[in-house]
Assembly symmetry: C2
Homo-oligomer: 477 residues x 2
């Protein structure tokens, strides 16, 4: 007989004769009440065992983590907390779970302990919820762009282009490291490597994405990107998923409109489709904050925070205005910032971004028109000759969640910029072809998917919102 | 004024006053007719230039590949082939395209030439169509699984586990190859590498995916996977995208049902949503086949072939039956196969698979219950003790498109198998946890996405259905 998902049983509108459920025991109470979960929902279904007529050897094996199959009628529950429960007529142990050994016992585990057991933590309520939300958010991303006619483009993961300059890269090789082939000059002979050249893992699909946008009009990428940076922080991963839309004929204003609309859409999508999971995580956060002093607790609950983002426009502020605000701010005057803002041109640190978002504006902020010399070579130079059409979106608690720009569409200006920065023109000749042949205004941005999941789930460490985090010193599984 | 997409203009149900379109010139005929394309559809919109009142300097710059903005009324076309056209009142050249230099001239280019220009080939009709179909197929994949309540899981790309055994792996490192740190024993000191150990690019997310399926019930992956194999064929890529669903409580029959239903769904989705692009590619194929002798031409057109897959069940055949068929086949008896099938236990080569699919059954075939010793360690051993619950789906013209199995859920049997194959138990202890704690029957499969795109587009070389192909000796862009 085919089993029914716990979610469907809980959503049933009537009692049902003889249903079968399969899942894992979360708890077993009073030798009678199994809380059964199969991952389809955060909620368990209560299965009432006829313990008087069940052999002791079986009852003993109903332990946390065991896989069981239960068959019986779906009846109205006499207990509080659930509408329906299964009155078990037949119970089968599919797979045991030794309570002395199973690490995921029904008690509070530290997030550190759970991280070390990334393959099992997904059996907890919190991580089940996080991973379901992550999945729904991924789908929201595709939904949004596909509905608008964007083409999904898989830009390459292994790349021979290393001039992107977005960060430190991992090398990819099939050469035997203990016996490297050498050229006559004694250097490593990359002609003998798999691709016949030195290759790396991509840090961004933007440049390749631009070539497709200049043919298909509107494209987006959504794939893994990599940074070989030794950043052991709660906001950085060595391997993370990035979303990079690129749109021909969009200027920076249209780019900001797109980013804001997109973020609001996916958050609304999660609210509409992950109600139970979000409510659970909201409760988890409230519980966690009880141990904090009043001043450190959030002003809003998780759902209030998400709704706030939907109901309020992001504040658009030029870099120049932001510098004025920061220069006049109390923490700057009282020298509480680690980096004091003295003059125009300073690169903003995370402390400044947080001040703007969390203290000054108290809402998501889009900063735009940054000084040219602190931004990438491909950004459109403004008429003032010193700022570029860049934008960053800053979120409370998260910091930068989006970085984007209008691209420099003028061949001569772009080449001059590359020369000034020592970027090899030949190496990027294919990229320059977009400006050589049918160039046009175009814009795009990158959104770090895990930072979005972090914001929506209310978690505080990025390692807790990706199935198997890769960080310095850690690539288990 | 905001521009309107070419697709929307062509789908208009009325004439319109003053519209603006932006895109790239495909052709410019008689100093008067621009065929304008913006990537939103394979179809161009005809823009009629008032050449008598347009300066010669402008007319000269309307060349293939140039980006232009045209404004004017959308009027009924007097010419054949289109319902509406734009009567151009204002034309602006956004970006020139020197006809002496632009490689994508409106003539037939070889697929080899286009591959070398992967950043520009997407501006041709064929590659625009292929990339739009690829995108729609990707979305169909997500749609199918999300509607059924599967959770999308991003398994790791960089992996410290190298016991998967699915193929040769690429090494990932941040060590300086020209100055490798050494241990006291003189071996490479991987403790100093980024992750503190030797790491590779993933060949499959299955093992990690199984750990999630045993918590969330139904999951799927869809991400890049890698093979460092020197296979310079039209069916292999070093970097390709794979879809791997995994379902708790599914046996092999349910796994076959899922795979068949899934493939039929995504093909139907493409037929429903990519009509124009598929029709174009069907025409392209017919054109191409004109130069072939009658015997080598396809029996069905592209759309007929796709509909055939929808309307016919896949033929399910056990390995043992397949061996009997092959042994008795004419090419085997006449020794036309390179590998003659003599006895049970032989590994099937692509020539045998093609015979079964293209000559014998003439439809997609699911082969199942393979000999244990030619399949992976994690596959469920049958009661006969010599076959495993494996299945491969074979497609005409493509060969293997899916490989899957019911997994060995019995801890002891699995460990014994690993020991026999010399697979390190400790290394995969996390994987064995799924069998230690709450084990259950479960199954899954892997589908090579590019092979699916190959089948749906009717292309014959896998390098033509991925934006930037990675193959031995080639990692441009």
């Amino acid at each position: 007989m085919r089993h029914t998902k716990v979610k469907d049983l809980l959503n049933s509108t009537t009692t049902l004769q003889e249903v079968n459920a399969k899942g894992w025991v979360r708890t077993f109470r009073n030798n009678q009440f199994i809380a059964l979960n199969d991952g389809s929902t955060i909620n368990n279904i209560q299965c009432v065992v006829d313990f008087e007529n069940t052999p002791d050897e079986i009852l003993k094996r109903i332990t946390t983590g065991a896989a069981v199959s239960v068959t019986g009628n779906l009846v109205e529950s006499k207990g509080a907390g659930q509408k329906y429960e299964i009155k078990v007529a037949k119970l089968e142990i599919l797979g045991d779970s030794d309570p002395e050994k199973f690490p995921m016992q029904p008690k509070k585990h530290s997030l550190e302990f759970l991280r070390e057991n990334a393959h099992l933590r997904v059996r907890t309520n919190s991580f089940g919820a996080i991973m379901r939300i992550r999945s729904v958010l991924s789908f929201a991303v595709h939904n949004y762009f596909q509905q608008k006619g964007f083409v999904y483009v898989n830009t390459p993961i292994i790349t021979g282009a290393d001039a992107e300059g977005a960060g430190e890269m991992f090398q990819v090789t099939s050469l035997p490291l203990d016996n490297l082939p050498k050229t006559e000059e004694g250097t490593i002979d990359y002609k003998k490597d798999f691709f016949g050249k030195h290759t790396n893992l991509t840090v961004s699909g933007q440049l390749e994405g631009e070539t497709f946008a200049m043919a298909l009009g509107q494209i987006y990428t959504f794939g893994p990107t990599f940074r070989a940076e030794n950043s052991n922080t709660s906001r950085h991963l060595a391997e993370f998923w990035m979303i990079e839309p690129e749109v021909a004929f969009n200027d920076l204003d249209a780019n900001m409109d797109l980013a804001e609309d997109f973020i609001q859409y996916v958050i609304k999508y999660a609210l509409d489709n992950c109600g139970d999971d979000l409510k659970f995580l909201e409760g988890r956060l409230l519980e966690e904050e009880k141990s904090k002093p009043q001043a450190e607790r959030s002003e809003m609950t998780l759902l209030e925070k998400l709704n706030f983002v939907l109901e309020n426009n992001f504040k658009r502020v030029s870099y120049t205005e932001a510098i004025d605000i920061l220069r006049e701010s109390t923490p700057n005057k009282k020298k509480k910032f680690s980096y004091i803002i003295n003059e125009w041109g300073a690169d903003l640190q995370s402390e400044h971004e947080r001040y703007l978002v969390e203290k000054h504006f108290k809402c998501p902020v889009i900063l735009f028109d940054y000084p040219a010399n602190i931004k990438a070579f491909y950004m459109r130079l403004n008429e003032d000759g010193k700022t570029v059409r860049a934008m960053d979106i800053l979120f409370p608690g998260i910091g930068e969640i989006v970085g984007g720009s209008q691209r420099e569409e003028r061949f001569d200006v772009l080449v001059e910029k590359m020369k000034a920065l020592g970027i090899d023109e030949k190496e990027l000749s294919w990229y320059l072809d977009t400006r050589r042949f049918g160039s046009a205004v175009h814009s795009g941005f990158g959104l770090g998917f895990e930072r979005l999941v972090l914001f929506v789930t209310g978690m505080t460490n990025i390692r807790d919102v990706i199935p198997f985090p890769r960080t310095p010193g850690s690539a288990e599984f």
